[in-house]
């Protein structure tokens, strides 16, 4: 299916005494296909071999993917449960002792039950992540609501995909990250990419991006930095961080003024055009330029190219989404496609670059404070009824809506939340405003962390449960296209580690909730129950069987039954998911970032990733190759700005904001705006840039504004010898 010009029949290299296990990368939403090489004598993973037969990535991988296998048998793996008896050591690596699973479970049950007896069911919380299978994500939601019976569950997608989800829900009535398969990308005529450092964060998209230009198509990139993809763009819209909505409105205004609106499409398939047209009138190229710092000619040229292109795809990522108006930015850029009718057909549409491996599937099936499996809503009684039936509970027993990830720390401060079960996430690095967040983790009465390495967040735990890496379990993941794919098991769990779904089942049995969980004996059992729980929801996975995934090279949701092949292209019938079948063109007034530069803090700080590391770096910083390539963070500064501060390349500076400070080595580059500095966020302890970032949230998605805050630099005269 969808085999295109990049697909070639290639045999793999096979070594004696080895089998190849077909699977996908453990990291980002690209979910590149890979084969894990497994030694048939030791039954251990020993290497990687490209998967030429995977139609999306045809063997390609970034350096994280190439070295991903090294996670599994890594020396840093936690092999047994760890208990720390001395709570005064919280926040350090010290004081942990090995324990049996029984002892660890008993301690958790004792403390969880005590807390719930003293302070109510909702004194416990679950903080999860989406770098794990749909099966695990699904069961985590059930674990919180049925096992622990708490309302407080949320996940790290709040720092990742929540704004895209909110924007798509509002514009389309449905949130599938891409309206088309990735195999369409290289065939479009114009890619408009905003706030995505694609070459570093989703590198294996790049051969398709360059192919657009090779065919004579256009590439437009909006980014405060001249990233590797922006370097070759036909138009680089070098905007100030946090001003995307002005740019989107400005371009939309030009599209409408210059006659690129598709009246037929707008009239028949959308609402909100007139109101939006009025609102964006104000955003002339000059005014847009004033707000964004982008030259008017560039804005005009970008609008002209997008308007003229027979087919075009609007794409974006965390750059526009991690803002206090992230949801508006998403709808704002989506407006371009809706007004011009460049959607609902092959080679034209809208897509977000999903960050985490299962950022799509993981947000659909009920780990979000307000969501239940199948993209159902917990405050919709019908939805609750449907899921309660599958779970075997009464609808009244379903806990109410909780709060978002960052807001959970607020409830910890207020002692509303006193216990935490953390899995698949490392908020002590990835959350904003870390001085505050780390303080709240420290003050918890009791904290459990499930991880396969001792992460910075695990340093705050009382009990650490050793879980498996992605290669020691099986299940499904939904990639950035909305294609559900299969992760296969390549070796048995190392040491005493267990997959998270099994830990949840065993813990629930000990909490006296076994009758809701004991029937789940394999990942497939969990998968089958999850398909059933999603049945009838927006994100209907009922028809996505593991067999069908194998046969079809993955299955795009929605997929309602056994005979449904799934939905690679959304909206081909021009039917959107709002009740009237129309999409919404949104009138979105511009507002600036939560914190604008001033005299005291004159610079704009923005954060992001490098190609060598994934999220908080808990995994990738341990892989030799990746660590050697980027061992520490740095701050990117424009040479003219550096001169003002009298700082030179590779000198050290103190970078500070109203919330915190850190010391970084300076990297001088002309490939950044003069008013902006950039620091990658993958690093822990005193190197975390999130010590400085702001906890201001988008009112709809509750996404923090990682991408813009006000900062100041001070040159460090003497760098202490390490």
């Amino acid at each position: 299916m969808q085999r295109d010009k990049f697909f070639k029949e290639i045999e793999n290299l096979r070594h004696p005494n080895e089998t190849l296990v077909k699977t996908h990368c453990s990291y980002c939403g690209m979910q590149c296909g890979m084969n894990l090489r497994v030694n048939t004598e030791t039954n251990k993973i020993i290497g990687v071999e490209p998967r030429y037969d995977w139609p999306v990535t045809v063997g390609k991988m970034c350096p994280k993917g190439v070295t991903a296998y090294q996670q599994t048998n890594h020396d840093d793996r936690i092999l047994k449960p760890l208990i720390r008896d001395d709570a005064s050591l919280k926040g350090t690596k010290e004081g942990f002792r090995e324990a049996t699973w029984d002892e660890a479970y008993d301690l958790i049950v004792k403390n969880f039950q005590q807390l719930q007896r003293d302070y109510g069911k909702d004194s416990l919380s679950v903080y999860s992540g989406v770098s794990m299978t749909n099966e695990k994500c699904y069961l985590t939601g059930k674990f919180a609501r049925v096992g622990l019976q708490t309302r407080y569950i949320d996940y790290n997608g709040r720092f990742c995909m929540a704004s895209a989800a909110g924007g798509f829900m509002r514009s389309f009535g449905v949130d599938r990250g891409s309206t088309l398969p990735w195999t369409d990308l290289h065939e479009t005529d114009c890619l408009f990419i905003a706030g995505s450092n694609t070459a570093e964060c989703h590198p294996t998209s790049m051969f398709r991006v360059w192919a657009v230009q090779e065919r004579g198509g256009y590439l437009i990139v909006a980014d405060p930095r001249e990233t590797p993809i922006a370097r070759r763009a036909d138009v680089h819209l070098d905007l100030r961080p946090g001003t995307d909505l002005a740019l989107a409105n400005g371009i939309l205004n030009l599209l409408i003024q210059n006659g690129y609106a598709d009246e037929e499409f707008v009239n028949n398939h959308t609402n909100g055009f007139e109101e939006t047209k009025e609102l964006v009138k104000e955003f002339t190229p000059e005014y847009t330029s004033e707000l964004t710092g982008v030259a008017p000619e560039k804005i005009i040229r970008a609008a002209e190219i997008y308007g003229k292109a027979p087919n075009a795809i609007v794409m974006f990522a965390r750059g526009i989404e991690q803002q206090v108006k992230g949801v508006d930015n998403v709808s704002g850029y989506t407006n371009m496609a809706l007004v011009t009718g460049k959607i609902g057909r092959p080679k034209a549409g809208v897509a977000t670059f999903t960050g985490q491996g299962n950022g799509q599937g993981g947000r659909e099936h009920g780990q979000k404070a307000d969501a239940l499996p199948g993209y159902r809503k917990i405050n919709n009684p019908e939805h609750v009824k449907a899921v309660a039936k599958v779970w075997g509970i009464e609808p009244e027993e379903m806990p109410k809506e909780g709060v978002s990830a960052y807001e959970m720390f607020g409830l910890m401060e207020q002692k509303v939340i006193r216990g935490l079960y953390l899995l698949c996430s490392n908020p002590a690095v990835s959350a904003p405003n870390l001085n505050y967040v780390r303080e709240q983790l420290k003050n918890l009465d009791f904290m459990v962390c499930s991880d396969f390495y001792l992460s910075e967040s695990a340093e705050f735990a009382d009990v650490i449960l050793p879980t498996t890496t992605w290669s020691e379990d099986e299940g499904t993941v939904t990639n950035l296209e909305g294609r559900c794919i299969k992760i296969n098991k390549a070796q048995d769990p190392l040491g005493e580690s267990k997959p998270d779904w099994q830990i949840h089942v065993e813990l629930c049995e000990r909490l006296g909730r076994g009758k809701y969980f004991s029937h789940l004996k394999t990942a497939k059992d969990v998968g089958d129950e999850f398909r059933l729980a999603s049945k009838g929801g927006y994100a209907d996975y009922y028809g996505i069987t593991w067999d069908k995934i194998e046969k079809q090279d993955g299955v795009f949701w929605p997929c309602k039954d056994e005979n449904d092949p799934g939905t690679p292209h959304m909206f081909l019938d021009k039917k959107f998911y709002h009740p009237d079948g129309k999409a919404k063109i949104c009138a979105l007034p511009y507002r600036p970032p939560a914190e604008e530069p001033d005299e005291e803090y004159p610079l704009r700080l923005t954060t992001g990733r490098v190609v060598y590391h994934y999220l908080s770096g808990n995994q990738t910083r341990r892989i030799n190759f990746l660590r050697d390539m980027c061992p520490e963070p740095y701050v990117e500064v424009h040479p003219e700005t550096a001169e003002q501060y009298n700082i030179k390349h590779e000198e050290f500076v103190r970078l500070y904001t109203r919330r915190g400070e850190a010391e970084y080595k300076v990297k001088i580059t002309e490939a950044i705006r003069k008013d902006t500095v950039f620091v990658p966020y993958h690093f822990g302890h005193d190197k975390s840039i999130n010590l400085l970032t702001i906890g201001a949230l988008d009112p709809m998605s509750r996404m923090p504004e990682f991408k813009a805050c006000a900062a100041q630099i001070e040159k460090l005269e003497l760098k202490k010898v390490q």
Binding site: C62, V66, T67, A199, M206, E214, G216, A671
Partner: protein, 186 residues
């Protein structure tokens, strides 16, 4: 059908996946044999890979007093034979591109062997398999010819062939500027 390594330098995004992939080849002991350079790091993010070009008449092999550098029947210029290499490092100086690396502990030269364990059976090299930007590709001569027509550069310099540096090479290189000859769709 014989395939060659083909480089389109302008595509490089500096991800260094080619380096990571090279550490994974058979017998490479986790050490990569290729290079990626930041072309002008204080100015922009342009990068480019530097690969062994597998010269038809390789200076490295010619300079070797011990005949340690063998040329495979596919044209691949192999890494030094452990039993023959005397560690004189002539080859590291002779190669105009600075490709051979030297292991001072083992007193042994090592270099790109074009993933001979793969390419001898027609399987693409690791680096060209993974390269996310199609900077490194593994193509037939016909495919390369089509590329040459497609990117008809105004300066005529599209392969490292005579009279540049070290003469004819098995690897084909497309210098920066591949988009110069492209006609825009609209």
């Amino acid at each position: 059908m014989k395939k060659r390594l083909y480089l389109e330098l302008e595509n490089c995004i500096g991800c260094r996946s080619c380096l990571a992939a090279c550490t994974q080849c058979g017998g490479h002991e986790e050490r990569n044999r290729n290079y990626v350079y930041d072309v002008n790091p204080l100015v922009n993010r342009q990068t480019m890979p530097l690969m062994c070009l597998h010269c038809v008449n390789p200076a490295c092999a010619r300079s070797c007093p011990a005949q340690a550098i063998q040329i495979h029947e596919t044209g691949a210029v192999l890494s030094a034979l452990v039993e023959k290499c005397i560690g004189c490092q002539n080859c590291t100086i002779a190669c105009p591109y600075g490709i051979p690396k030297f292991d001072t502990e083992q007193n042994l030269m090592y270099k790109c062997d074009l993933c001979i364990d793969r390419t001898k059976d027609g399987i693409p090299p690791m680096c060209a398999s993974v390269c996310p930007s199609n900077t490194l590709q593994w193509l037939t001569d016909e495919e390369i010819e089509a590329k040459q027509k497609q990117f008809n550069l105004d300066n005529g310099k599209w392969v490292t062939s005579m009279p540049y540096l070290e003469g004819e090479t098995n690897v084909r290189v497309n210098l920066p500027g591949i988009l110069q000859g492209v006609t825009k769709l609209f």
